[in-house]
């Protein structure tokens, strides 16, 4: 087809400029006889202009323009020894004090299994999360890696309840309890072992002689909140019999996640994401922590009723053919250990074994 005819056809079928797609433009201008071939701006520039309207990101010509070469600082490689493993190398991305390879896990290594202990931990987590929220603390950054998780808590006698209007009421046994709980949640970052290694022998001797002075010197600038008397785990608390804390609603995802973090830290139990997103109250999280007791079998219920009947026999397990044959005396349950005793393999005769009942030696079982 002649170029002019081709051009006229394209012009006749070309849609309005507003509806022209960049792909169509590329097709129109692919031929060397297109009217845009004589323009100085390249295809890339025109496409960018059409697509972005003048505010195109990135370099104008990513294919031909060379990037500015960065000046590489020359490093003195004298004395460099390549590391064989990662021990000793700096760690990037963790807080300062966590730059150690020997890390404790966020959650305890052993999960809490006792039901009462789980309820106590759940109540404690709920109280601490509610106290943080009431005091306007950030829930996202709460319950960090070094938040204390001691057994003795100040939350045992704190009562949580939901009012008729849906608001949560929290009652502290003592006025100082709230401040004490808040101060107990502050992270206690331990000293790094690298600082201790740099201590010389003279300093070690001096510190051994007067350890109290160093301890008091470090403790003076730290302000401590008034300590409330920690409650020991004596008689079971009231919330075990009347668990009002389970009906507390979960107002936001940050509250739920903070609560889950604390539960994980105290108990080691993980809660699936589906349960977390679907939970509306604290009680919805309980089945993931405490498994319900196994349902009773019918044989356990029938045993006292049928024990006196001489013609009734009750079995706890399924009866298989071997059980019936054994009752008749036609079959005998054979202990696999009693079938034979392996004594080795003789290259000439083959398998060497002994049947305990017959006492035969070199009994070939093949």
């Amino acid at each position: 087809m002649r170029p002019l005819t081709r051009l006229l056809l394209r012009r006749s079928i070309r849609p309005t400029p507003l509806r022209v797609s960049p792909v169509q433009i590329a097709c129109f201008h692919a031929t060397p006889t297109s009217r845009y071939a004589s323009e100085k701006s390249g295809l890339t520039q025109r496409l960018r202009q059409k697509i972005w309207g003048g505010n195109a990101p990135g370099p104008e010509d990513p294919y031909t323009t060379a990037e500015e070469t960065k000046q590489v600082e020359e490093v003195d490689m004298a004395g460099y020894v390549a590391a064989e493993d990662g021990r000793g190398l700096p760690i990037i991305g963790l807080p300062e004090k966590l730059g150690e390879w020997a890390l404790d896990t966020y959650s305890p290594s052993e999960k809490v299994v006792d039901t009462e202990a789980l309820h106590r931990a759940l109540h404690r987590a709920v109280v601490e999360t509610v106290v943080l929220q009431v005091n306007g603390r950030e829930l996202d950054s709460s319950f960090g890696y070094y938040t204390p998780k001691d057994a003795e808590t100040l939350t045992d006698n704190v009562e949580l309840s939901v009012q008729e209007d849906g608001s949560v009421q929290i009652a502290f046994p003592q006025p100082e309890a709230e401040e004490a709980i808040l101060s107990s949640l502050q992270e206690v970052i331990p000293e790094t072992p690298a600082e201790d290694e740099t201590v010389t022998t003279e300093e070690v001797a001096a510190s051994d002689i007067a350890p109290t002075d160093a301890a008091t010197a470090e403790a003076e600038p730290v302000e401590t909140a008034p300590e409330a008397t920690p409650v020991s785990l004596g008689p079971p608390p009231a919330y075990l019999e009347n668990p009002t804390h389970l009906s507390i609603p979960l107002p936001s995802s940050s509250f739920t996640f903070a609560l889950y973090k604390r539960i994980l830290q105290l108990t080691g139990h993980q809660i699936p994401d589906g349960v977390l997103t679907r939970a509306r109250t604290v009680g919805d999280l309980v089945p993931s922590l405490i498994a319900p007791p196994k349902p009773k079998k019918l044989s356990e219920e029938l045993e006292p009723l049928l024990a006196d009947l001489p013609n009734v026999r009750l079995f706890e397990k399924k009866r298989v053919g071997l059980d019936k044959e054994t009752e008749l005396g036609r079959a005998r349950k054979v202990d696999p250990k009693e079938t034979y005793r392996y004594k080795g393999i003789d290259p000439d005769t083959g398998f060497i074994g002994e049947r305990p009942y017959s006492g035969k030696v070199n009994d070939n079982f093949y």
Binding site: L306, N311, L314, F315
Partner: protein, 141 residues
Amino acid sequence: MPVKVLPAVSKAQNGVGAFVLQCKRLEFNYCDAAGSSRGMKCSDRLFLKHCLPQFAKQNPAIEMHVAPRPSKHPIIRGVYINGREKVICVRNLEHNQVLKKAELLRNSSGLQLRKLRNPVQSINDSVRGIFSPFHGPKHAL
């Protein structure tokens, strides 16, 4: 000579002299989880809990076995003295219906179910003899 008595051995008929119960054992199998075992084991009206003790006391000659059979429908298996067994599936039945099935098995013998073509069953010879075309009055057309 005096008439000799034909020697005849008495024909045994169960129930004439002595009665021997044909059913020697009833096995009740249920599933702890399945819903079809509800009539056998469910809470208010348990067959196994309420009906079976009384049924066992009424039938001391029959051995009763109660055993779970997981993931299966509940059944009652009757074992008879001729060595045969009869099994009735009692899935989705109520406790009174299960009891009726148990009584049905108790009342049965181990004989195979067959169609009774003749309503009269007797071990005695027929009084008038078996039909013969060669005997009897001659027919006249």
